[in-house]
Symmetry: C2
Subunit: 399 residues, 2 copies
């Protein structure tokens, strides 16, 4: 499987990182490699209406236990994000095929389309279509950085945006879903654990705040007469950090922009976005209240006003308790640790978990880096994580 | 004079504010109005090599006492910034002309070219050429927002950029320089003073700081493992505010930008500019040291590094003591107050003060607003300030 990943990197990577941007040429070439590898063991890939690729290895029972992840990447991404889970799923199918045995239940490999949403801003495109939560109208006006409309780009890939929700019919052949992925964070590396069960995905509250003060001349406006939106935003960002730290969650001010935004003017307007994450819905709601209050207090303290706009929100996802227990036990067999952690990032498994039992296994990310060419995991850790994932699939098949 | 200003506003203003951007059509039309008004009293305007317009009313002695300011404005500016001083100077010449008397010393009106620097980023263009501090090489690569080269735009206005420094020869006909201007800040309005002497202009230290941390995933990077450049910048901006407040000067963070600058990523890089101003050179130098230390401390406290780049600096300017005393006395006669203040903004007078005695008179700005369509001063205050300026010119002529 590691050789498959290296071959994928050779075909679609480079010094700047992976470039398997969904719906583009290199993403198609990644899928071509997958088809070649499937063909080597006598399997074919079929497309659904949302562009997901499915490959079935018939077993004694239906519906299928589905294994997979995504081949698409961010524009300058890493070699493992998504690709690891697809190649690990392929490895499981290949192992059954090469053993010449029929599995006790049909196994399916799925390569979800456009997990990253890096091109049109809508993550989890293919998996949400299958889960029944994709509304084509939400995406209809989206254009990529070159100004091309989403419907046009999808059509080039044989996908009719309006028909994408029909992919939901694939659910009829899904009994459960298992995904191996890199952690994309530093926890497992710090704890020296090569594979760990994932108990769910955090909920997210993402908001944009606009703080309005008064633009003024930097040289003629006394310090005590200013209504400086930049400084109100600075105080808000620092208060929001505490909201995350004190709740044991994450709170990030990743975007902050000033108007007029020039050296010689006190900022009249500051815009910031906050991204709050927690595994517990009630704690997340409390974090949002505290963040709101912090922004309002910072604004009011400087004679500014603040307004809020929802960017996006999602409830926390709890993975299926039995599958999580099976994943902990499989990881414990492979690593000696039954650690379970919550994913701070979203994954296709979170979409599928809405409608079917699902679980994940994580392996470490070097220095916690992902979505960058430096993304890496030691081969020894990859091997352990692939083993743990294989054990989990075995337990799910026999369970 | 107020009628002249209203006519100028009628010809070149509008709901969005004044649009006398230097070297453009409306700036030329403002100068046309000035020529018409000069012609009404039998005076002509001549251009120097830097595009400044000069008009001389011959008197008994040479060199001339020069009165003036600038007709150019920022793209959406106010009706008084610069225009007030030009029309007040015209008023003084007209008064002598209409009285049919020859002044004891030649009086000159100057309309400086491109005081604002709003188009090519170089303020005080015309006055620095006359003062001998303009280096055409510094400007050579500059382009305006439409991508047009400075040399091309100047040539359309009959100015050869390379020859602009030759305007320095006009200095031979300057004995001293007096300028009336709006304050562009809130101090005089707050103190209820219609006209005040200006004792000099602040010095400015303008720097760009780049804080480098580590870009990271907002969902997978624990709060205590981040090297968040945005939060380091927030702390730096708040510390820099204190540097200004505690030194009795100004300290502004007007520009702050993050990379990658998206909601879902901890910022790996933050760039901010600080603009520090103080009338005392030693205090200004100490402010710069404190600001530097504050940025470095904020960066180091979060595992980030900081680097500094000079954007621009200018020493404080002290106006000529005798002329400042004359301005205080003239203002006291008109208003009852001999208040003198330091200008936090730069003016053409600061350039001329390098090489000739110079002084200024300020009148209030409503709510301290300038460089905006809301810029205004009560007509009663304008009248008092014009009277004080006239008294000052009289004292300088007889001094």
């Amino acid at each position: 499987m590691i050789a498959d990943l290296r071959e994928l990197e050779r075909r679609t990577g480079g010094p700047g990182g992976a470039r398997r941007l969904c719906w583009g040429e290199e993403w198609r070439s990644a899928r071509e490699l997958l088809s070649e590898l499937l063909a080597e063991v006598g399997l074919e890939a079929e497309r659904d209406e949302a562009g997901n690729a499915w490959s079935y290895l018939e077993g004694d029972a239906e519906p299928a236990l589905v294994l997979g992840s995504h081949l698409d990447s961010v524009p300058a991404g890493g070699w493992l994000d998504g690709a690891l889970g697809v190649m690990a799923a392929l490895g499981v199918l290949r192992a059954w095929r090469e053993a010449g045995r029929r599995p006790p239940r049909t196994l399916a490999l799925v390569d979800w389309a456009d997990e990253e949403g890096a091109r049109f801003g809508r993550s989890l495109f293919g998996s949400s279509a299958v889960a029944g939560s994709l509304d084509p109208a939400e995406l209809a006006g989206a254009r990529d950085a070159e100004g091309r409309a989403v419907a046009e780009v999808l059509a080039e890939n044989g996908v009719d945006l309006q028909q994408a929700p029909s992919a939901q019919s694939r659910l009829g052949r899904v009994v459960a879903y298992l995904e191996l992925h890199i952690e994309q964070g530093p926890v497992l590396e710090a704890e020296g654990i090569a594979a760990a069960a994932v108990s769910g995905c955090v909920g997210i509250e993402r908001h944009r705040y606009r703080i309005e003060g008064q633009a003024a001349h930097a040289g003629t406006t006394p310090m005590d007469r200013r209504r400086d939106a930049a400084l109100a935003a600075a105080e808000a960002a620092l208060a929001i950090e505490l909201v995350g730290a004190e709740a044991g969650g994450m709170a990030t001010t990743g975007h902050l922009a000033l108007e007029p935004g020039i050296a010689t003017a006190v900022a009249g307007v500051a815009e910031l976005t906050t991204d709050l994450r927690h595994a517990d819905a009630e704690v997340l709601a409390a974090m949002l209240e505290r963040a709101r209050a912090a922004v309002e207090e910072a604004a009011a303290g400087r004679g500014c006003t603040a307004s809020e706009q929802l960017v996006w929100r999602i409830e926390p996802t709890r993975f299926n308790a039995e599958l999580v227990a099976a994943a902990r036990s499989a990881c414990a067999a492979a690593t000696g640790s039954d650690r379970a952690l919550t994913s701070g990032a979203l994954h296709d498994a979170a979409e599928i978990a809405r409608v079917r039992p699902a679980a994940m296994v994580f392996c470490p990310s070097r220095a916690g880096i992902s979505h960058a060419s430096e993304e890496d995991t030691a081969e020894a850790d990859l091997a352990v994580a692939i083993e743990a994932y294989g054990l989990l699939v075995g337990r799910a098949l026999s369970g």
